[in-house]
Amino acid sequence: MQQVILFFIRNKSLLLFFLLFAISVYLTIQAHSFHSTKYVNSTSHLVGGMQKNISSVGDYFHLKKDNELLQEENAYLRELLHNENRIDQDKIDSISNDFAFQFTPAKVISNSYTKSHNILTINKGAKDGVEIDMGVITPNGIVGIVNKTSENYATVQSILNTRSQINAKLKETDHFGLLVWEKIRDPLHVHLIDIPRHTEFSIGDTIVTGGKSTIFPEGIHIGIIDDYVLDEINNAFTIRVKLFADMTSLNSVYLIHNFDYQEIINLQEASNNGIE
């Protein structure tokens, strides 16, 4: 027994080091899994509030650019508004009964794009109705998915995250594939994988969200085709997509709330349980 105690006393630095290092590795692994960043993150009141104050200093510098973006979006919406009358009336009637998607504006208070697992923090939280798995977009294109919320803040797993997988399709032909980010440190491009070999497309075509997921509505712009290679083994194309959204300077974003989300998930779970 005395030997054991002596051992502990002699090696207490080493043991302290191992203990603290093990805690760090545990926290790291936990941060890498999507939904379970429990303790160490910036949604806490203190850190979130700090980030908000810091980002408010920088706000003035973006004012001009933000105005331009808003103007662009206004123009687009106005276009939609005025064209809507020309679309056949039946269609409008049938969807106007209940909206499936609601858009909430939010502001990015902390952004990262240089790591392999990039996370953003936004200034809306559970109090404003933000829930896990809500989609986040800018006027230009998609940004990511909410992965953690607190009372006043939420964190968003960016599409620039090697763990992100988003359903996307070619706007022209409706062939869909998986949007992933493989090349870290390239915040301008993502890759669309698993596009079947027989698909016809050309450089410059638009990529939009696929609507096969319950998170994003169909047809939200993502980017244009920049380059592609044919993967002989899988018999599928891997397409490099140039993003519309500038992920390095995000400020105003919109959160998408799908009112049918819970219903769809419940249904899928029920039918999965039925099979097993």
């Binding site: 302290l16 760090s24 545990y26 941060a31 160490v40 990262s112 392999s116 996370i119 440190r185 915040p187």
Partner: protein, 170 residues
Amino acid sequence: MGLNNVLIQVFRFIILLAVQILVMSNIKLFGYSSPFIYIIFILGFPLNTNKNLLIFLGFLLGLSMDIYSNTGGVHAGACVLIAYLRPTLLKISFGVSFEHNNIKLTQAEFKQQMVYLASMVFIHHLTLFALENFSIKLFLQTLESTFVTSILSSILIYCIIIIFSRIPNR
């Protein structure tokens, strides 16, 4: 450590974290490389103090960075490692003499300073990026990030130490 010294260390801890978060983390050289200067706290911690205290403070320092930058325990792990290895690296860089003579790090030879600084920064950054990427697939990118950022951080840290060690009676 006298009360005065404790206050100096607390002050350093806070100021270095603030500078790192407010200024350094916003620098993105070559599009991705931000220097990490907050480890000056560990580099310049008084020599004649308890080793375990530094390991614990290193953990706190790293954890503060992690909470701010949403990175789990990446910084904490890297800081704990260099805090633990510091006595060994001091011995390698400055010889055994530092234990007895209580030399000042800022007055040592340039070559010795550089060996100490570069090895601490390199170990910290390697651990940091390895934990952050956490995959064998990104091995080459991890090494590249480590080298580029280490050079950047070392130069900046050296400049900062030079500037502040010139201030008399600190």
